[in-house]
């Protein structure tokens, strides 16, 4: 709203509005209790848990390899990074070194997953702000990525495509060509999305200065991923704690400066291009060799607790595994869901904005309820 706070001319009453859980733009079953003065948001309270499935409890009953299909269902738009997080943590616990070819395949899959997640984000974010067409262009490209996943592991969404010690399959014939063909075309498609949105005055007005969060505040709130980078903190797990073989890859971490919705939008758009760049390098350097390390048939853990994280599309996705001596199941497996912690910043980010901005901020946080509610 423009202008300073004016004294109301007459008695005002706050309106309570239950935004969700069935609402077109809450990206699932998020519910936000709003206190409104007119259309101005005085207070927002996210209510979550509608999709709680007790995944962490389930982990405690599953042998280590069988936890992996369950991780698919956390952040279901980017299942590959979820798999990766779990297997990286397991390998750290068991002390397994994976063959380089497996690591490269994992990186390709994870980056494809990141692109597809960002495409879904852009599609829904644009639709939230009223632009309906990018949705279809994004899903057209996403479809190609899902085709690649299908050709590699047989599933399109819930991939279950990594194993402790590597990846289960060798790449099928022609996959590398198919993938590199897509990666070559992809940046042009990103240009198209940018033409539709980046310069558009309406898009800019809807996003610039909306949901601003400063770098200090972002760190204080525990934001990770694009929301943190949008505030100007150059921080990416792939660079800070390189897992798999990210340390051999040359890529940049795009950062914003103002920490508003537009910066986060730009960061994600750049990340898509960077992901394409990573995939290109991985495809070019794909080493020969086995795709599975030598691991015991039954995984038995040493006593201890490990935490390892990967850079998921939404932010730092960490797995914390407490293992008992000779255990075959995790004693406790905790997931650090990036969306869960990012969502916590929502009330602060939307304070004083309008209802229309709420959907912009929910969109820009890029939440996935499967991951928040677990």
């Amino acid at each position: 709203m423009m202008g300073g706070p004016l004294e109301p001319l007459f008695d005002v009453e706050e309106m309570e509005l239950s935004f969700g859980p069935q609402h077109p733009s809450t990206h699932g079953v998020l519910r936000v209790m709003l206190k409104l003065d007119g259309e101005k948001i005085m207070d927002a309270k996210p209510i979550i848990g509608y999709l709680h499935r007790g995944t962490e409890k389930l982990f405690e009953t599953e042998p280590f390899p069988q936890c992996i299909p369950h991780t698919d269902r956390l952040d279901y738009v980017a299942a590959a990074t979820n798999n990766q997080g779990f297997v990286v943590t397991m390998e750290k616990l068991l002390g397994i070194t994976i063959p380089p070819r497996a690591a490269y395949i994992r990186m390709i899959l994870a980056e494809l997953g990141r692109i597809s997640s960002h495409l879904v984000w852009l599609a829904t974010h644009a639709i939230d702000l009223g632009a309906i067409t990018p949705f279809f262009y994004n899903f057209r490209e996403r479809e190609e990525i899902l085709d690649l996943f299908e050709a590699y592991c047989g599933a399109r969404l819930t991939l279950n495509t990594m194993r402790v010690g590597g990846v289960p399959f060798e790449l099928p014939d022609g996959w590398v060509d198919q993938c590199s063909d897509f990666i070559d075309r992809f940046p042009k498609h990103v240009d198209e999305y940018e033409q539709l949105l980046t310069g558009n005055r309406i898009w800019k007005r809807r996003t610039i200065g909306i949901g601003v969060i400063s770098a200090e505040e972002a760190i204080e709130m525990g934001l990770t991923g694009p929301p943190l980078r949008g505030s100007g903190v150059k921080w990416d797990i792939r660079k800070v704690f390189p897992y798999d073989h990210y340390d051999e890859i040359d890529f940049e971490i795009p950062v914003g400066s103002n920490g508003d919705t537009y910066d986060r939008y730009l960061v994600r758009m750049q990340e898509m291009r960077q992901s394409a760049r990573i995939i290109r390098q991985c495809l070019d350097r794909l080493p020969e060799g086995p795709v599975m390390a030598k691991v015991p048939k039954v995984l038995r853990s040493p006593e201890g607790m490990v935490y390892a994280s990967v850079e998921g599309p939404k932010g730092e996705l960490g797995y914390f595994i407490v293992a008992t001596p000779k255990g075959t199941t995790p004693y406790r497996c905790h997931v650090r869901p990036p969306s869960f912690i990012n969502l916590q910043a929502l009330p602060e980010m939307v304070q004083g904005l309008l209802v229309a901005d709420l959907v912009a901020v929910i969109g820009t946080l890029d939440i996935v309820l499967g991951e928040i509610d677990r």
Binding site: M1, M15, P24, G130, Y137, L197, L354, V355, A356, D357
Partner: protein, 348 residues
Amino acid sequence: MQAPLIQFIVIPIVKIVVILAVVLLVVAYLTFAERKILAYMQVRLGPNRVGPKGWLQPIADGLKLFAKEDLIPAKAEKAVFMLAPAMIMVPALLAFSVIPFAPATDLFGLLPKAMPPYVTDINIALLFVLGISSIGVFGIILGGWSSNNKFSMMGGLRSAAQMVSYEVPMGFAIIAVLLMARSLSLVKIVEAQQAAHLWFFIPGILALGIYFICGVAETNRNPFDLPEAESELVAGFHTEYSGMKFAFFFLAEYTNMLVVSSLATIMFFGGWLQPFPNVAWLSFLGVIPPVIWFAVKVACFIFVYMWFRGTFPRYRFDQLMQVGWKWLIPLSLANLVIVGVGVLLVKG
């Protein structure tokens, strides 16, 4: 003895029935056109299953909406809730009574003497259309309020503010046309363009822009579709409506689009006139009946409407107001001055 009866009762009734039927059919097919055009812009095919190439889709939609259960929320203001869809539909259709889509014709010699095909031509037709179309907003406000739903209420309120803000620049833009045509009668406006050998969009390009933007806002279309912004307000003022009541809201939106496009055609693009009447080698264009010219021009505007919808994000409420008050009103005033001076210079 029957002459006045025929002239004042029978002929108008026939005209009204025909025009109403045609308009409703066109509106129904506009929904189809919108879905197709959006689909084509979005690399998909759109509805193509009902009938050949999907051409029966609007009929199927209509039947479905007829057959749907008509829900009235328990806490709704029932009388107003029932009235609101009519209040938006009736003014939208009423506007067509004065829209001249073709000149007087004898229907290829079928009629004894040439007769205007439109219902009537009143000398304040433009004012009439503006007045009537602003009644339509009551339907939206009352529909939003009576549903007793917070989202609907907000949609209705947004619509009220939006209408008020955008009527003003729209009016100013139209005054520019009045200055050039020196008449409020829509027929006279077309005739003035014929006489001047100049369609008014050339001197009135700014007025056209302002008028069209305001028209998009008045009809609650993207990028000004705030009252029914589905990602914010679920469905805005018609969240609680179903069945035919919803269909009324839906059709009224398209009817209003048709009205705005028709007015734009009449005021700026010479209505039913054919382009280049004086260019010899293009004289074959004269074969095409005027009503087709009118339809083609209107269709172009409608296409632009849908193109906008397929491309642009949505403005926020306060930004919409800013665009209206800070840009369009000053611009339309400036335009008025420019056109006024121009008219003064040309016509003395």
